[in-house]
Symmetry: C2
Amino acid sequence: MGLLFRPLFEKESSTYTYLLADEKTKEAIIIDAVSETKQRDVGLIEELGLDLKYIIETHVHADHITSSCPLKERFSNAKIVLGEKTPIECADILLKDNEELHFGEYTIKGIKTPGHTDGCMSYIVDKFVFTGDALLIRSSGRCDFQQGSAATLYDSIQRLFELPDETLVYPGHDYGGRTVSSIFEEKQYNTMIGGDVDKDEFIRRVDAMELPLPKKIHVAVPSNQVCGSKIITS
Amino acid sequence: MGLLFRPLFEKESSTYTYLLADEKTKEAIIIDAVSETKQRDVGLIEELGLDLKYIIETHVHADHITSSCPLKERFSNAKIVLGEKTPIECADILLKDNEELHFGEYTIKGIKTPGHTDGCMSYIVDKFVFTGDALLIRSSGRCDFQQGSAATLYDSIQRLFELPDETLVYPGHDYGGRTVSSIFEEKQYNTMIGGDVDKDEFIRRVDAMELPLPKKIHVAVPSNQVCGSKIITS
């Protein structure tokens, strides 16, 4: 008996969803659940007999629609959790920096990591950190919409880099099929911010990203601001 | 210091590649590496300073081309490993049932699990089992080419089901974004062979699969029979 941990992947937006549970008490949390894979996730939670306690988002996503509200309807004990700076009314809990929640004998601790968006939170459970779109494997989140700020993101990632080297990094996305890294690896090898990259150089690199807007942004952001309870086109 | 473990994903064929290493000695193994993601895998092995010792295949794949031979050219200490029943001349080691190999202080043990193909091997490292296309998450391999046999596969999976319940199952593929299961879960919930499914019923279910042939089969099988050293069209 210990910590059940199931990383899950949604191919269309290359999003990772993470299901964690205390195997003894069955209390569970899910991080960044996606509308397209709701049935898979519901099926898994039900098969495993889990008691879903928290439906957690790292931020208001721009590239996919959350299944937070539909999951809450299905699992009525569950509460929707986002970071305190998120401009959102559908959350049950707006977690403060360093605030902790509990599932069984495990703890999830939020640490604010703004920069990709104002309200971004990373979450620490055991030796894992779930970094959302702040720190990606060998990369970082973009900062060109939703109040993004490369300077702020630099400071947030420096804070993540203070975690123990062996902490395993589970990001919100990976577009190259990587599933996990470590704080040590990212401090050394992250191509945006690793090694001796300073704040000015990081800002220059983020500014140079020149990415197209996410295809779904005009539906995803307003729909996610109501926790996926309905589809809204801005 | 412990076991470094990096599951990796190749989107086109939904194949999982697994990189494992002893963090202290840096000796490493890779399981089911794919041609399309060779550069990613080489980059990761080099960045982490790993000494690639074994390039391991669960079987001769029909849906993607292996990067075994190209990896061996790059990492000259590495040996290519397949199961003893594999009709293949490019392997350095044809592992026998229950035979073990070592990387640092860790052991990888092959157990033959034929049925999807004659030569299929699963591999046990620590509390993980890498099941290739024998046991998939909530499913099993197909048996309609490469000397496949549903009756044989049934017996192979029963053998996997004798592993401790908590053993984590890492399959060769998943088409629904699931990354890991457990022997307990598959014994209970596998839709092909879990619960009280007997051999006759399993054979009936496998026969009812009616899948199209893998798109690449006529290139992948002959090319993989030379460990991906060249592209051969049958």
